[in-house]
Symmetry: C2
Subunit: 349 residues, 2 copies
């Protein structure tokens, strides 16, 4: 089959790789209907994180189950499935606590399966899915083609934006600031509105993303950054700062922006992968009682909650895809996102 | 009147100082019935924080109002009052949000009042209280002498332990670990039990404090620290760590202990004054979805909630006082706490 590999910074290639095969009895083979490129895929693409050898890449996909192992009970061949960006069993103590990203038996796409075999990267024609019963969410009934982008966001970005909002404790009437206007930040705007926030401040300098943020429910846009951005948020929040701030970037600057935009006693929900790891300024947090909560989003657990709203059109996260390309043009997909010509690119095998 | 001053590391003196006088119309003069020494008073005592010039010290007291300014409405002369460890107006946006420690018009004991005059340190015979209506909590009815220690804990340590538990989101059935066996840590055990935790692990190496922790509701005691302590907590929590961890020390080591003792998706509630400021390891927090919430405890807002349980004896935080001395022996009070001969010392003017 054909699948995407990263060979090094800026070097994305679609190559022929071995077809996946069932091997553990608890796995499934899924034909990928759509995959996409994640903001975090750009870290190795940009050389920020090293690529020591060519490896399979991609961790967001939806598709149709083609075959399942003999112990698989919840997924049947022919089912349309959504895969979260990780593997989980759905039954360990951490999964039961809602933190399936810390599954005691889980793993990651594009790497070895703990039980044996390989979990393919998502940017390919097929993926072998370990622990299929825990990992895959089945979408009931027929799935229309125009539903695919929305469903694909449940694989990562919509669930991740939702996690930022849940981690920050967003509730009815809250004033929420969102740091980051990538796909996750835009989905965080959707999530904040869905959870009842009445003031939603999108921090964005890009006219097209500002427009999408407003379409998703942002009541205000702040284009300034740093001290000016913080001052603008304060002016919109009675002089004290936002009740909840959703950090959806992962840099030292964005975390600083988030912490300083929160009011005393407020909470920062963060989901941006901290690259190189800004350490958090505990003294400032202490003095202001600003909390920090979040992390790698356990999106598997959110799929069933968000799915009805996606299918009904009550929320429309699929709009974050502003470019669609065939899988064979994966290299162009990365370039478009790297150069910010696209918010998020959908790939069709 | 007589009051306590710190002149430098290890140098505590009780001296004659000017009697306080009403000066703003919104203030009160309180005759101190009891004050005490705080763990955070030991930072300047030990020279960890500098003392540039002799200054008044102490920030926890209960007493009887002797006189009130003409604009004071809630406090009358003769009222028994509890003062939180800070001044607040109770009406600004931050106070209304429950973060009275960030009061827009507040201040601290032993320093200048923003409106004019001076807010005396608590370890003295009398204190001028700015913004008396916001700052002071009135205890209804007659107050028996044996009630005084319990009421005094509402000035700081009981409310601070409660804040750790509230910030961590402690609820019914939770497994909670408490890092720190000082007065605040012991009060955090009380708070965890009061909020419904069913497993409460006190981390303590001192037999007397272990015994008090058990009396307050600890179900387990872990004497080990570092990796061994974390392993012990894991063994008591199904192998994954505590749902909530209450950090009541404020050192880099204690925060590390707290963060690593929490299960994935757990929350650290911290109230230990971070001395020198350990920065928080965001990468580890991100990967495990462990949140960090808390800070300088807005205890004023907790007094009314906790007062009935203190007065009924349902909780007995006054037991943290294991030494009582006359005010004139303040220097010995500091020495006893510094040398850990006492958990917490009550001073009677």
């Amino acid at each position: 089959m054909r699948a995407t590999l990263i060979h090094g910074p800026g070097d994305i290639r679609v190559e022929t790789v071995p077809d996946p095969v069932l091997s553990t009895g608890r796995d499934a083979i899924v034909r990928v209907v759509a995959a996409c490129v994640c903001g975090s895929d750009l870290w190795p693409y940009r050389g920020v994180t090293p690529t020591r050898e060519p490896r399979r890449i991609g961790h967001e996909f939806v598709g149709v189950a083609e075959a399942v192992g003999e112990q698989v009970e919840r997924v049947r061949p022919g089912d349309f499935v959504i895969a979260p960006f990780y593997v989980c069993d759905g039954s360990c103590a951490n999964c039961r606590n809602g933190v399936s990203t810390s599954c005691l038996h889980g793993g990651w796409w594009g790497s070895a399966d703990r039980e044996g075999g390989f979990a393919d990267g998502a940017q390919g024609e097929r993926v072998r899915v370990p622990l299929a019963d825990g990992t895959l969410a089945v979408v009931p009934g027929p799935v229309a083609d125009e539903e695919v982008p929305g469903l694909l966001t449940l694989s990562d970005v919509m669930g991740t934006g939702h996690h930022a909002a849940v981690s920050a404790g967003v509730g009815p009437g809250d004033a929420v600031a969102v740091v980051g206007d990538g796909a996750v930040g835009l989905c965080a705007v959707i999530a904040a509105k869905r959870l009842g926030a009445t003031t939603i401040i999108a921090m964005s300098r890009h006219p097209e993303r500002q427009a999408l943020a407003r379409e998703f429910g942002a009541t205000h846009v702040v284009a300034e950054r740093g001290d000016a951005g913080i001052e603008a948020v304060r002016e919109l929040t009675g002089g004290i700062g936002a009740d909840r701030v959703l950090e959806c970037v992962g840099t030292k600057e964005s975390m600083d922006q988030a912490i300083r935009s929160a009011r005393p006693g407020g909470m920062v929900g963060y989901v941006g992968v901290p690259n190189g790891g800004p350490e958090l300024p505990v003294r400032r947090l202490f003095e202001t009682n600003v909390g920090v909560n979040g992390g790698v989003a356990p999106v598997r657990g959110y799929i069933e909650e968000l799915l009805p709203d996606v299918r009904s059109g009550a929320i429309r996260p699929g709009l974050v895809f502003d470019l669609e390309l065939p899988l064979e043009e994966a290299a162009e997909a990365y370039a478009a996102m790297d150069e910010r010509r696209a918010v998020k690119v959908l790939l069709r095998p």
